[in-house]
Assembly symmetry: C2
Homo-oligomer: 465 residues x 2
C-alpha cells in the first residue's frame, strides 16, 4: 500500500517551512574553488549535520578529509530491505561575473515560482529534497521503507579530489545495494528523465612566460615574443574551424553511441531552434554530422574556460605582455581515460609552443566518464516513480556534464548508480542567476518519497549490477 | 661665450631641492586612461603651472580641453632670437600589475642613483628637466637666450585625443621656429641620441559575444560556440608563426628603410645577445630578414596588449564563456595611414568571425608615424650639445614608440621637431618598476641648458624646415 498520499499532505503542509530552511542552506557561500571560503565549507557541512539529524537520520558525522569535509549519516532499521546510498554535494561554483546577477547569489529570492541562488539547483536544492523525503517518511510513518545512507561531499565542483580515497577507506561503511544521485537535469520542463551515462572531465591550466616583465610595445614590439600571441597560437591550434579537436589521438578511444541510442535520442524530439532562441545565439556550433544531443552526450569536447593576460582595464595600454594564461577542460566520453587525455594535451602544447616563451602546464583534477545499462530494475523503478507523479513518460538519457565521483562509486562499491535529476538545462548552473523551478522541487519530493517505497519492493539480490 | 659653467654650478648646488620637487610631481597619480584619476590630472596640471611660474615662465595657464587640461606658458623677451616650443606630457600609464612593483608606483624612491616611480622617465622627469633648465638660466643670467613656449598635455598615453584640435585652434599662440620634445630614449647608457623618426599607432578593442550568458560546459559543451575559442581564432589569424602580420594590405604602404639607414643602424653595433639576457627571453622573435633595430624602428607591428574572458580565478570552473575580448595595437611606420590600417583590421576581423558569435570592434585613438631629415641644423645642434656634456659621439636614431602628436605638430605648425631623449630602454616605461637613471637627469639638465644657447646662435630663418 502506497504512502504517497500521506507524503503529499505532509509536503503541502510544510512547504513554507521547507523553503525557508532551504534558503538558510543557500545563504552559506560554500564555494569550494576559493580558499577564502574554507570556513563556509565547514558551516555548510555543520548545517547538513543538523538538518539530517532533525529529519531522523542517525549517527550523523562531519568527517574531515584532506580538503573539505564529508557529511555522513544512516538509518538502518529496515531489516531485509535494500540499502540506498544517497550521494550529493554541498559545495557550489564561483559566482563571477557578479555584476550579471539580478539578485545576490547568496541572498535566495523566489520570483515566478523559481528560487534564485547559487546552488539552488546544483546541488543544494536537490540534496535538501532527499533530506525532506526522509523527514516526511519519519513524520508520517515513524520509519523508512528502506535502509538509507547519506554521503554529501564538499568538493564536487573542483573534481572531488578527496572522495575517491574516502570511499576506498570506508567501503564497509558505504556498503549498499544501489546509489542514488540527484545532480542531473530533466529532459525539459514537465518531462522527467533518468540518466544512465555521464561525461568525464580532464583539464589543464596553461601559463605562458616570456620576458622578465611587461615591455613597452614601442621599444620592443616586433622583436620580442608577446606572451598573448604565443598563448592564442596554442589555444587556436586545439580546434579546427569546424569544431573538431585537433589534439593527436584525442578521439582514439571514443566509444561511438549505438544506432539504438541515436534513434532514442532522435525520438526525444529536441527542438534545436528553441535552444538557439533560448540561448540567444545566431547558430548552434559543433562537430559536423552530430545532433545537439549527440554532441553534448556522446562526443568529447575541449573548452577554453578562461583566458587572461596583459591589460584588461578601461582604455588602451600599449604594453607587450610577458605573461598570459588559460584554463582548459575537456568533457570525456566512454572509453576515454582522463590521464591519457592530459598526456595528449601536454604533447600538443609542447608541439605548439612558439620560440621566445616557455609554457608550463598544471593539471586539474580528473573524472572518468560513466555508463550503465538503462534496463536495470532500479533505473526502471525510478522512471516509474517519475511517471506516477508527473503523469508523463520518463526519458532515459545521458548527461553531458560530469559527476567525477560516479565512476569511482561504480568501480569501488560495485553497485548500480541511479541518476534522478530534477534540474532544468535553462537553470544557469555554473552561471549568473542560477535558479530552481519550484514545481520540480514540489513534484520531486513526492517522486523521491515514492521511489524509496518502490525500492523496498525488491530483494537486495534483485538489484545486483 | 657659454653659460654652461654657471648652469653647472647652479644644478649642482640645487640638486637635492630639484629632486624633492620632482618627487612631489611624481606622487600625483595622473593616469589618463582611468576615469577615477580625473582630479589627479587637474592636480598635476596645477602643479606644473606653479612650477613653470616659479621658474620664470610667464602667462602660465591651465587650459581646459574636452579631456584633460593643457598647460601653456611662454617667455618672449629674446628679441630677434628663435622661438623654441617645448612639448611634453604630465600623464602616465596605468600601473597594473601592482604586485610586481618593488615599491609603490606613486611613492618615488631613489635606489642606486635611479629614481623609481611611474612617470619618472616617461615623461614627468624629462618635462621637469626643461623647467629646471629655464629656471637655471633665469637665476644665473636673469633671462633666457631664446624665446620659449611650453605646451604640456595630459593625454599622451591615451593617444592625445584633444591636442590636435587644440593646436589647430591655437596656431598663433604656438607659432615657433622649432619644437623640442624630450620623451624618447638614448641609444644606451652613456650613449646619447637624437631621434629623427617615430612609429605611429592604431588599435582596436575586440569584443566577442555568444550566448545570452555563461553556460555550463557539460550541458552545452560541444554544441554552442565558446566566445574564447572564437576570440583566439581571430587573434591567432592576425599573425603567421614566423611573425609576419597576415592582415590583407597591412604592408602595402610601408616605406622601406634606405640602405644608408640600414648601414647606420648596423654601425650602432647593437648587441642582440645582451638584449636577450637583459629581457631574460630564450630568443628574440620577429619578422625574418630584419635586425632588432630594423624590426623596432622601421617595421610595423600588431601586438595583443590584453586578453580577457571566462574564469580567471583560483582553481577550475567548467564554464562555457559567452563573452571574451582583447585589446590590440599596431605600431605603424611611414607611410602607413592609421585610419586605413583600422579599416584593414576590421575587414580581417569580419572575415575571421566564426559562426555562433558576434564581434564588435571599438577603435582606439590613432597617431601617425613621423620622419624628419637627420641633417637639419637644429638636430645637429642637439647632437653637439649632447657631445659637449657626455663627451662621446651622438647617434642619430629612430624610435619604435609613438608620440602621436608629433605628426600633428609637424603638419599644423610646419616647423621641424627635434626629439632629445634622456630615457633608457631598460627603464620599464609602461611596466612595473619604471625608473630614471639620475646620471641622465644630471647631464640632461646641462645638455638642455646648453642647447637653448646653441639655438640662440641661429637666425630664425636658418631653422626653416
Amino acid at each position: 500500500m502506497s504512502n504517497l498520499q500521506e507524503l503529499d499532505t505532509y509536503f503541502t503542509e510544510n512547504r513554507e517551512t521547507h523553503l525557508e530552511e532551504l534558503k538558510e542552506f543557500l545563504r552559506i557561500p560554500s564555494i569550494s574553488a576559493l580558499s577564502e571560503h574554507k570556513a563556509d565549507m565547514q558551516k555548510a557541512a555543520d548545517w547538513l549535520k543538523d538538518s539530517l539529524t532533525t529529519a531522523g537520520i542517525e549517527k550523523v558525522e562531519v568527517l574531515p578529509t584532506k580538503g573539505h569535509p564529508v557529511v555522513y549519516g544512516e538509518w538502518m532499521h529496515a531489516k531485509g530491505k535494500p540499502t540506498i546510498l544517497f550521494y550529493g554535494h554541498y559545495d557550489v561554483q564561483p559566482v563571477d561575473p557578479l555584476n550579471l546577477w539580478e539578485t545576490e547569489p547568496f541572498d535566495p529570492q523566489i520570483r515566478e515560482n523559481k528560487l534564485f541562488a547559487r546552488g539552488a539547483s546544483d546541488d543544494k536544492g536537490q540534496v535538501f529534497m532527499h533530506i525532506k523525503a526522509v523527514e516526511a517518511w519519519m513524520k508520517t510513518t515513524g520509519s523508512l521503507p528502506v535502509n538509507m545512507k547519506f554521503i554529501i561531499e564538499g568538493e564536487e565542483e573542483i573534481g572531488s579530489p578527496s572522495l575517491e580515497a574516502f570511499i576506498e577507506e570506508n567501503k564497509e561503511k558505504l556498503a549498499s545495494d544501489i546509489i542514488v544521485i540527484s545532480d542531473t537535469g530533466m529532459q525539459a520542463k514537465g518531462k522527467p528523465a533518468v540518466c544512465y551515462g555521464l561525461r568525464g572531465l580532464a583539464g589543464v591550466q596553461i601559463d605562458v612566460k616570456g620576458a622578465k616583465g611587461d615591455l613597452h610595445s614601442g621599444l620592443y614590439g616586433g622583436s620580442v615574443q608577446n606572451a598573448i600571441h604565443a598563448l592564442v597560437q596554442v589555444l587556436d591550434s586545439f580546434r579546427a574551424e569546424n569544431g573538431k579537436i585537433l589534439v593527436d589521438g584525442f578521439y582514439d578511444s571514443v566509444l561511438e553511441a549505438t544506432e539504438e541510442e541515436k534513434e532514442a535520442y532522435k525520438a526525444l524530439n529536441v527542438d534545436e531552434e528553441a535552444i538557439k532562441k533560448e540561448l540567444q545565439v545566431p547558430a548552434l556550433f559543433g562537430e559536423e554530422g552530430y545532433s545537439h544531443l549527440e554532441r553534448t552526450w556522446t562526443r568529447p569536447t575541449l573548452e577554453i574556460n578562461g583566458v587572461f593576460g596583459g591589460f584588461s582595464g578601461e582604455g588602451i595600454k600599449t604594453v607587450l605582455p610577458n605573461e598570459a594564461g588559460a584554463k582548459i577542460t575537456c568533457r570525456l566520453v566512454p572509453n576515454q581515460e582522463p590521464d591519457e587525455i592530459v598526456q595528449l594535451l601536454k604533447a600538443h602544447i609542447d608541439k605548439n609552443t612558439l620560440p621566445g616563451v616557455t609554457i608550463s602546464v598544471t593539471e586539474f583534477d580528473k573524472g572518468k566518464p560513466f555508463l550503465t545499462p538503462f534496463d536495470h530494475p532500479a533505473i526502471q523503478a525510478a522512471g516509474a516513480s517519475y511517471e506516477k507523479v508527473y503523469n508523463v513518460p520518463t526519458a532515459y538519457i545521458r548527461g553531458g556534464g560530469s559527476i567525477p565521483i560516479v565512476a569511482a562509486f561504480d568501480d569501488i562499491l560495485q553497485v548500480p548508480v541511479i541518476l534522478m535529476g530534477f534540474g532544468l538545462a535553462e537553470e544557469n548552473f555554473h552561471a549568473p542567476n542560477e535558479h530552481f523551478h519550484l514545481e520540480n522541487f514540489d513534484q520531486g519530493l513526492r517522486v523521491i518519497g515514492d521511489y524509496y517505497e518502490s525500492i523496498a519492493g525488491f530483494k537486495p539480490d534483485e538489484l545486483k549490477k
